[in-house]
């Protein structure tokens, strides 16, 4: 049995080291890589199911084409034919419009390995085109972190095990970051308290010593309330405040005059006694980890919430002095040149730049493009018809497109509406380099097995398609098609990367994953200055959900929360029998209040609806949900995102998607209107 080293490339905190066991070119089983210091030889349930992912009967084997689009009338085609069709379209559009702006892509996080920036590299290589910018997931919080700390604040997550307390605001590692739980529970076993603040009584909340339920989107109110009490009782870190903050006077005045504890209690729904309990946690002069989950920033107040929590964390626990134990995310990728992403394409005589569209309103904005309109769309590493908002905008965009190509391992909702679908390789079938957005380990991913039937990696597709374009029109693309995956990886391992990870070459990574050397953070020096919460231009928090009593809010009184489920990542893993026992139906969780109000019983078929559409689901009544919250997991046969439509964002690419600012109503299913 041969053994190869891998990194799980999913959009997940853990980016686990894994080993594959290969016999006669076949993947027999998987294990965690014991040499990886974060996952330490273990995987999650999804990771252990990879044999069923790779050899799944639903996996796409060959390039396929359907005519007409959406008919389901799929025919197998050769890679040659696929490349010819795509190259014809790109060249014809270029001729028609005089540039490649009519060609574009939509790509996100289906595989976060560095070589999957081949999609961007491929489009860059044909000069100015149409591209998405921004990040639907975490950028609001990232910007808030940078504003507070002046840079990203990134501490090794393993260090959570040494904390005196761990306070989690709106993250659910028991579902989304299983391996972090061992560090948290290690701290707990040494006597640390685990505190979870979340509107949902999650699996993580259930393990907490103290669980505090909060109204969604009001975390900032709570943080400021606790901060006010810390200041009043003078149990905050005064030395830090006086030496290393820039706006203490302003903040102090704001908290004194504007933060009213009665209002804090009423907005957050948390009683004064419980707020005091949190004050006592944050006033212990010992290291305390504050983990801010992405959930806190999926609403209009996201940035302000995080700024307020950062402020509380730095005031309390005396954590400001050289120990800024606030966890959000780690920008591991910033150390790398990411040559594929940053590949410089040929210049165009008249068009200077690519056309950038905010990824969060991609379909709506793409539909509005003129001179030229968008006509060819490449969808890779993403399933927008399940994960994006505003499906109607997508459906109308698709009507305008002349060619849609989707690259995926499975027939996703988006693939179903494409003209050509190309089969993608799994990470066992390609080489890659992986860093995490959470921990500080670097891994190489080896190719262990031949591609499944005719599957190809994104990089291989880029190499071949760009060569095809150049054969037809010499010099059309400047993609270095001759460059192999290992060449791209070697180029990423610059002298500074090698120093940072104490490696001499890729061979060291084949031996074991490597930990990034810890930088001496600026916070320990006196030059570090922290920016305390400030009201900003927006005024105080808008309580986005209960803002007013408009007609829309009267009609749709429930706030829709759509967190990740345990055995999927977005719509990935849906086809794996081990992870999907029995006939899974879409389930909606609702409060006893909502059930009673609408005459709904456990197990009833119900309809979740708003002005954008409706979906059917089976009701599960929860004793633990806030009255006016309904919870639906993502993806499935009728993705819940059909009911999520966000207003256009003005600050292009600078906010995450406010998924949780969505309202719906619920009623019993009525066959007649189904």
């Amino acid at each position: 049995m041969e053994i190869y080293r891998h990194a799980c490339p999913r959009n997940c905190f853990s980016t686990c080291g894994m080993l594959s066991y290969i016999e006669d070119g076949k993947l027999m089983k998987i294990s965690g890589d014991a040499k990886h210091g974060y996952n330490q030889g273990r995987l999650c349930a999804k990771g252990y199911a990879y044999t069923q992912y790779v050899y799944n009967p639903y996996r796409l084997k060959h390039p396929i084409r359907q005519t007409p689009r959406g008919s389901g009338n799929w025919k197998r085609i050769s890679w040659e034919e696929a490349y010819d069709t795509i190259a014809d379209k790109i060249l014809e559009l270029n001729e028609r419009y005089g540039s490649n702006l009519a060609s574009g892509y939509n790509k996100f996080s289906g595989n976060i390995g560095l070589l999957h920036y081949a999609v961007e590299g491929m489009f860059n290589s044909i000069g100015p085109h149409t591209k998405p910018i921004g990040n639907p997931c975490l950028i609001t919080g990232e910007r808030a972190m940078r504003k507070s700390f002046g840079q990203m604040n990134s501490i090794m997550p393993e260090k959570m095990a040494e904390m005196n307390a761990v306070v989690i605001w709106g993250a659910n590692p028991a579902v989304t970051n299983v391996h972090q739980m061992k560090f948290i529970l290690q701290a707990r076993q040494k006597g640390a308290k685990l505190i979870v603040i979340d509107p949902i009584f999650t699996r993580t909340a259930a393990t907490a010593d103290i669980y505090i339920q909060i109204n969604p989107g009001t975390d900032g109110w709570l943080a400021l309330g606790v901060a006010k009490l810390l200041i009043e009782s003078e149990s905050y870190n005064q030395e830090f405040v006086h030496n290393q903050t820039v706006n203490w006077e302003e903040f102090h005045q704001y908290v004194n005059e504007q933060v009213d504890l009665h209002e804090v209690c009423s907005k957050t729904g948390i009683s004064f006694d419980v707020i005091c309990e949190l004050v006592s946690i944050y006033s212990i002069p010992k290291p305390c980890a504050t983990w801010i989950g992405f959930g806190t920033q999926r609403n209009e107040n996201g940035g302000q919430n995080i700024s307020a929590i950062n402020t509380l964390a730095l005031l309390g626990c005396h954590s400001g002095k050289g120990n800024r134990s606030v966890y959000y995310s780690h920008n591991g990728i910033d150390d790398f040149p990411v040559n594929l992403l940053n590949h410089a394409g040929p210049e165009h005589p008249t068009v200077q730049y690519s056309r950038e569209i905010n990824i969060n309103n991609f379909a709506e904005n793409a539909s509005k493009l003129v001179d030229p309109p968008l006509k060819f769309l490449w969808i890779a590493l993403r399933n927008p018809l399940s994960q994006d908002q505003d499906f109607q905008a997508w459906e109308s965009l698709m009507k305008e497109l002349e060619l849609i190509v989707t690259v995926d391992l499975f027939m996703t909702k988006s693939a179903e509406l494409s003209d050509i679908v190309l089969p993608a390789a799994s990470h066992f079938e390609e080489m890659d380099l992986n860093v995490s957005y959470w921990h500080h380990w670097l891994s190489v991913n080896e190719k262990a097995i031949p591609p499944y039937y005719e599957a190809k990696s994104d990089l291989q597709i880029a190499r071949e398609l760009m060569k095809k374009l150049n054969d037809r029109s010499p010099g059309f693309s400047n993609f270095p098609s001759e460059r192999k995956p290992i060449d791209w990886i070697r180029e990423e391992l610059t002298p500074s990367v090698k120093k940072l990870y104490s490696i001499e070459s890729i061979d060291d990574l084949l031996e074991c994953p490597r930990l990034r050397t810890e930088e001496v953070t600026k916070s320990s020096s006196s030059s570090f200055k922290f920016r305390l919460f400030s009201q900003g231009n927006k005024g105080t928090f808008t309580n986005s959900f209960n803002r007013g009593k408009s007609d829309v809010e009267e009609s749709y009184p429930f706030q829709l929360l759509t967190p990740q489920s345990l055995l999927k990542i977005h719509s990935q893993y849906e086809a794996l029998p081990w992870l999907n026992q029995g006939a899974e139906q879409d389930v909606v969780e609702l409060s006893e209040y909502a059930a009673e109000k609408n005459g709904i019983l456990e197990g009833d078929k119900v309809e979740l609806f708003n002005q954008y559409g409706k979906i059917a689901a089976i009701a599960r009544i929860s004793r633990f949900l806030p009255q006016k919250v309904v919870l639906v997991n993502q993806a499935g046969k009728n993705p819940i995102n059909r009911l999520i439509v966000q207003k256009p964002q003005k600050n292009k690419g600078k906010s995450s998607m406010n998924f949780y600012d969505s309202s719906v109503n619920i009623r019993k299913w009525c066959e007649n209107d189904g």
Binding site: K29, R42, G47, Y48, M181, N215, W578, R623
Partner: protein
């Protein structure tokens, strides 16, 4: 008495129902999709239970099998010899823990064998290896002893019939503050 009695120890307080153990078992044994040698289930609203074959001291499967397909090894592991199994399903009905599973492919019963091929090589069972918080461990129950450990927990089937080789650490109490507007 066996020389050894290897048994699982399950710490309710450390389990958050991630199901890694259940799928790690499938990965190791590549069992059919309907065959669940280990099962993670909800014990209460906020706690979980992970159970496989408990390699009982008085195994009912052993007693009811008409073909004498079950044996108990010197280390206490209860094995099933699939060559002898005729797929009658008596063991499946008799076991209080749902351990033997009917495999539609082989038309025989199969069950957790505590990864004895791994144990023989000095490795822990796959489920134990996969548990990131060490909520699931395994010990020789003939010699291991801990005052905090208990023989059963509420929600676990009656242990008197088969004397299962499993022990538990119960959950520790927690403070929970629900919204007043919640139904609590």
């Amino acid at each position: 008495m066996m020389v050894k009695q290897m048994g699982f120890v399950f710490n309710v307080d450390l389990c958050f129902g991630c199901m890694a153990c259940e799928i790690a078992c499938r990965n190791e044994n590549q069992t059919d999709s309907t065959v669940r040698w280990r099962k993670v289930s909800r014990l209460t609203d906020d706690s979980f239970l992970s159970v496989s074959c408990n390699h009982c001291n008085s195994p009912e499967c052993f007693r009811v099998c008409p073909e004498n397909a079950f044996t108990k090894r010197g280390d206490g592991i209860v094995q099933i010899n699939s060559d002898l199994c005729i797929g009658c399903g008596l063991c499946i009905e008799a076991c209080p823990y749902g351990a033997p599973q009917y495999d539609p492919l082989t038309q025989k019963a199969s069950k957790c064998q505590m990864c004895y091929p791994r144990q023989d090589k000095g490795l822990p069972p796959a489920c134990v290896e996969s548990c990131s918080t060490e909520a699931l461990t395994f010990v020789d129950l003939n010699i291991f002893c801990d005052k905090k450990m208990v023989g059963t927990i509420p929600g676990f089937p009656d242990t008197r019939l088969t004397n299962p080789s499993i022990a538990f650490y119960p959950a520790i109490e927690r403070n929970r503050y629900f919204l007043k507007s919640s139904n609590k």
